[in-house]
Symmetry: none
Amino acid sequence: MSTSTPRRGRASGRREATRQRLFDAALSLIAEHGYDVTTVDEIAERAGVAKGTVYYNFGGKEELYTALLEWGVTRLAETLREAVPPPEEGVDERDSLIRVLRAGVVFIGTHEELARMLMAESWRTNRSWYATVHQLRTEAIGVITGQLEQLAGRGRLRPDLDTDLAGSALFGMVVTVALNWRNLQPERPVEDIHTTLAHMADGLIGPA
Amino acid sequence: MSTSTPRRGRASGRREATRQRLFDAALSLIAEHGYDVTTVDEIAERAGVAKGTVYYNFGGKEELYTALLEWGVTRLAETLREAVPPPEEGVDERDSLIRVLRAGVVFIGTHEELARMLMAESWRTNRSWYATVHQLRTEAIGVITGQLEQLAGRGRLRPDLDTDLAGSALFGMVVTVALNWRNLQPERPVEDIHTTLAHMADGLIGPA
Amino acid sequence: MSTSTPRRGRASGRREATRQRLFDAALSLIAEHGYDVTTVDEIAERAGVAKGTVYYNFGGKEELYTALLEWGVTRLAETLREAVPPPEEGVDERDSLIRVLRAGVVFIGTHEELARMLMAESWRTNRSWYATVHQLRTEAIGVITGQLEQLAGRGRLRPDLDTDLAGSALFGMVVTVALNWRNLQPERPVEDIHTTLAHMADGLIGPA
Amino acid sequence: MSTSTPRRGRASGRREATRQRLFDAALSLIAEHGYDVTTVDEIAERAGVAKGTVYYNFGGKEELYTALLEWGVTRLAETLREAVPPPEEGVDERDSLIRVLRAGVVFIGTHEELARMLMAESWRTNRSWYATVHQLRTEAIGVITGQLEQLAGRGRLRPDLDTDLAGSALFGMVVTVALNWRNLQPERPVEDIHTTLAHMADGLIGPA
DNA sequence: GATGAATGAGGGTTCATTCAT
DNA sequence: CATGAATGAACCCTCATTCAT
């Protein structure tokens, strides 16, 4: 995964390169094996630096992980937001929603590791980073919910639906399907996925 | 412990009771905090037995967890299967599917802990119990997929849909929505949830 | 190894049979893997009894082991003693000594497990059974030393030799050679062993 | 720690010193009480380091022990080899052998702990380090056997003797006598020991 | 900026022993 | 006589963290 520089204005050279290496190493390792099971030693080794360097750059394992989560979910939310067609294009609201969902599928296809990491950690209360994850997750879902509200505003949504509920349903569906696709039938064309999701979304929207 | 029952499977009364206590304790603890973070000490303490008893009865932490997973997903699959109306009742295929989904929601509402445990562990490869989880998960999804195939057989399903894909989409949707419901808006009547899911399912089925 | 009933006048039937089974199981297990590494569970299992039975019959692991040691070294000492020709037979003193050594080799060949157990535990101070082992070992060596003294009394021994020292040298030699024989070249005829030992003994006796 | 030495093998000063402390601590403890009974806690404490340091430096208890064994028997074999007079000195073959045996006695007198450790562990099959011990033991015995072969080449050895067998007999004898000496009669002059062993060796060589 | 040796709290596991049946 | 479920102290090992270099 070729992660682009996470924040910090000018790339301060060596330091920034080290941080990036650590970032990538941690992401791949944690996504594959889980946070608890991944050791700082492993992260340092895969990044090709000494163990102390992790602490010098991130302060600790948990901070590194939190940074990872924030960076990841922020990117997801951004990606979804960018998929929303600007009003001036006059795209149909239903198609707008579909575009957002498609963007979600593509994102997960590209950042599979990140997606797995999020799903694994999303359902546990009592974790020090639960608040962070939850807030960010809500932000991502918010983009979808926003589209649903647009539809509702146009009277294009079934009146007995709660947009929050439906938004989270769509989100869960997108992630589950996309992940199953990558894990179980990666040879399948992405269009099949899009079709399935579009149909389910249309179920929410109701007959035109 | 109670009556006489003299032969094998006899004073197993004691043993079986202990196993059950351990089971319950492990389930609640692991679902809440996660597998890695839960200690054998905690499990034993909550079960009200000594630490060694865990090993006497289950062989180890991992075995206990695996037993938990198997038991859990088996129950889920059973519940879904039982929700399928018997053919002689002549229930409409679409309504059959809806009943299965509703049963899923109800199950998660009742066994929230189990559901969280499953979702947290479902997305990680390279875990020693991945095979177990995956197989069992597939079994549960299989019940949904089975209903979709019935619909397809009747020509009631959109022809461009893959039943496996759609099955996993419905499953992920059910779990996500149900869990969000319990976590975020537990005061909401279960009927709202059912409605949302029914609409999305109808999207798959297409206009009657 | 078909151990004959260790003490206790009349064989009290079931009890004695159980004790014997435990004895044999413990001997083979401990000789092979060592005292610390052998578990009471294993002993009980090999003996075909429940774990509690070990405690009912011997009081504990250490007591069982001590009983084993006592029984074993006593048998060794007895065997060596019985090999000493009675004075009335008028056997040459040198030949008497040789007979004792041969008896030692034969004993070890037959009770290899016991011999290994003794060698492994003989050299450690600070063990609760050190005194027992040491005393018994001394008793066995004493038989050899006794023969050397006979020779010395007849003026048949090199005058600058200490019989205690020489006795333990012979003992160590016998055990080492016999064990190496069984372990490394078991196909070799026992006569080769006897020859080697006889020569070394003759070195102590000096030229006739 | 001391000078500058900037490259690899440099600040290893610290690490090497720690390893040595651990080595010494483990040797004395294990030789006294045995491998199984000695705890890593004790070793660390005697070495004056934290428990984790044992694992950082040796990987585990067993590895530490194996390293100990290798180091020990290598030293023994070296000592014996160095005791063999160089050919140009033209030392008599019988005297050569005697010198090797004396060197063995002296070594054991100096490294009593090591010798006890070796004897205790030499007779058990099925230990993970059995192969190591056995191979090294053979190497040490090999030096003695080598001398016997020299004698045989010169026709100075009884023709009916197997050198391997006789070599192990001498080895066992040396160790047993030396250890008994240190344990039971440490006040005795080393010359007495040498005399006894020389006589027994002469028994093998036969009359000049 | 980076390193890596050292730390020690804490976790999983083993096993001799007890005791109610 | 014998059993086997239960116990808990003690063990080996892991790993996030610190800090002198």
